[in-house]
Symmetry: C2
DNA sequence: GGCTAAAGTTAAGCGTGCTTAAATATAATG
DNA sequence: CATTATATTTAAGCACGCTTAACTTTAGCC
């Protein structure tokens, strides 16, 4: 098993933990765009190497070892993201893919040096927390999807999902960025679309969009 | 054939051109630390893809296509080297390996952006020329190995070979760096070792070392 | 020119990470 | 609880980039 594949599998399993309880093989396959058979295959190898605890038809769980490995990969990825974004000026929507390619290649030494240059950032450009070298993961401010907000409330962007490039491109185009203030002007019940005001300009956004922007409530 | 392997083969062939005429399969094998059989194998594939002109037992030559590909890889590598060295502060002797891992992963866009940040450098940290986006390769100043210098002559470092980490580490330890002035104080005929003065301090260096430091003559 | 050493090639095989198709286990539903 | 749908696993096979061992060509030397 080459490291890059292993790293990708472990990262996917690790990142999923934030959201649900135990990841399904199907989900891994989907996230990585590979067949289910490939997942079963790799799980056996990862299990043999002690990175996941895995029993046929039962469940998939990172071992302590696997979790450490994965957390470090997420760390590497997110430090690259900040570096690319803040230092090199790579635009929001391109940061993820670029970082994904680079995260496997840099030495830990280089990652640490970049982290230092960046002054030990706690969050990546999408608002996701960056695990520290010692394993600590910064807490996120309490946040809800923008789609939950009521009319005439005000909120501030804490995190955005980075699954979809077009989405990131679009929202950055209308001025949404981390810590940006959003005023919810109107919520339409029939389709849950919202009229929001960002930095003085108003835009209509779908519920789907609002589902993927997470905000801290400023005024209800 | 995955890109990374192809890229390595083409780079090795390309870089060799500076020195000799036509590269031998044995040399490729040595440089890449693989068997001769693997080289033959890959040459067939590269030939089929039109990157090298290759005839059994005859010779190995890059096609125009292969040369463009290779030149771009060398470009990528050397821009990474400058970036790592100048921006991130990676020490001289670690720059090559780190860049080698990264050169396969970055997008061309990122490379261009880094080049711009660096103000379109012409030489990498070892003094090797960086091919421009349009394919132009900066000329090197006229230079000779330090080992050719006569006693009481003065020279300036133009380029160093970057094959060996310990070597780079050692020479940087005694103050040798690009454009540094070196005064040759003494040359011993029996072993061709030299006593040189760098930045006020004197050191004895072997011929072997001096063979790998290339200098421009200031005073004969 | 003939012989040997060196260089290069072929053949067979291996580990990796996939694939598809078929088999089997689990979950969901009436 | 039986049946169907879904999830997972197995089996067979493939492309890749290697390896070693055996073979062939070329180059160097007398």
């Amino acid at each position: 098993m080459t490291n890059i594949s292993k790293e990708d599998y472990l990262s996917v399993i690790f990142k999923h933990k934030d959201q649900n309880e135990e990841i399904k093989a199907t989900v891994i396959a989907e996230m990585m765009n590979i067949s289910g058979a490939a997942v079963t295959d790799m799980l056996k190898k990862l299990s043999k190497e002690g990175d996941v605890k895995y029993e046929k038809y039962k469940g998939i769980k990172l071992t302590k070892k696997g979790e450490n490995y994965a957390r470090n990969m997420v760390r590497r990825h997110r430090i690259w993201e900040v570096f690319l974004h803040d230092i090199i000026g790579v635009p929001w929507e391109k940061v993820h893919d670029e970082a994904h390619r680079l995260e496997h290649s840099a030495s830990d030494e280089l990652i640490d040096r970049m982290e230092e240059m960046l002054n030990f950032p706690e969050y990546d450009p999408h608002g996701d927390p960056i695990p520290a070298k010692n394993g600590m993961i910064p807490k996120l401010r309490k946040h809800v999807p923008l789609s939950c907000m009521k009319p005439d409330s005000v909120c501030s962007v804490v995190r955005v999902n980075d699954f979809h490039k077009e989405f990131l491109n679009y929202i950055s185009g209308i001025g949404i960025k981390l810590n940006e203030k959003i005023v919810v002007e109107e919520v339409r019940n029939f389709d849950k679309s919202l009229r929001i005001n960002v930095n003085g300009s108003s835009f209509d956004v779908s519920q789907k969009l609002a589902d993927n922007v997470f905000v801290e409530i400023v005024t209800i």
